[in-house]
Amino acid sequence: MSRRPELLIPIVFEAGNTAKRNVASWRSNRPLIERGLCTNCLICWIYCPEPAIYLDDAGNVQIDYDHCKGCGICAEECPRKAIRMVVENV
């Protein structure tokens, strides 16, 4: 539809490409999900600022560790306390 000119213009055509950036180095604490407690209710996902939480093919909540900055909101808000924060190994 719209023509992409050959000119160098400050437009980014590749929508959402920050997903290619890895921001894991921001993290000092890592969220870990206790599978036995998690009900995949998605509360962690709706409160994630990134989002760095997704459902895998089996429908289980997973953490995207390339994009999680380790804020800990998910652990704080999980209604079943199924996420705990552990210090990153450096």
Binding site: V12, E14, G16, R21, W26, P51, G72
Partner: protein, 304 residues
Amino acid sequence: MQVSKLADLYGREGLSPGHSACQGCGATIAVRQVLLAAEPPYIVVSPTGCLEVISTPYPFTAWRVPWVHVAFENAAAVASGIEAALKVLERKGVGRRHKVIVIAGDGGTFDIGLQALSGAFERGHNILYVCYDNEAYMNTGIQRSAATPPGSITTTTPAGKRERKKDIVSILVGHGSPYVATASPHLWKDLTNKVRKAQSIEGPTFLHIIAPCPRGWYFEPHLTIKLAKLAVETRIFPIYEVENGRYRINYLITRPRPVEDYLRVQNRFAYLLKPENAALLEEFKRWVEERWSQLLKMAGAFPA
């Protein structure tokens, strides 16, 4: 369509990860929820501010939806132009209408952007204007705005702000907007349904969302959602909507928590809790009470 469960929203992400927002950023949580709810096709306009800077460092963009930034004080004017242009382009068969959604911070809304906002609402453009309110100029390093609450320390109010927060909702109700509402990201169902409602109404609508900022409010980043909840439960940030001038309190807080519960966890209010500043704390409480009773009166005078 009503949002009733989180699965209704999953997979509608408008913002990609990998952006540069701080740990625990309340603004990006709010923005994510707005975009998860928004019905396509839409275009997002942002003024200069945290959101713009964290999302679009060339050659990257976090936006998975059409997005534009022009300057700091003119988001509502830019939105007016897009909205009006698409109307005529659709008429001429060379374009189609989109809902235009402005997502702006408090500085770009309460202060420098107020003239353009007023103009756009007075002219009645079909836009949804969302203000994520982190109560100061966070992008430039925590300076006071008209949205900063009384008592708050910022880098330009080192002894605490003396003035009350500007009542932006009343200003927009005064423009005759058909729908003006407040929301909090901890109440995701209320927030997302308000986005749907505001989007479905023809004309300029406004959503004022509290967006706790760990960096600027000086609290631990895992507490962002807790802070939003406390602001609501202490009646500091009431959740209500005004539809065609009729007020409705969506979360009637019958037994408010003491405001100290909210103030205590943020260092921006640290000095307010010192015994020698008891008078300032009283003034803060008076501000909260007066606003709440005013709201009750409005809701009673104009029952929904």
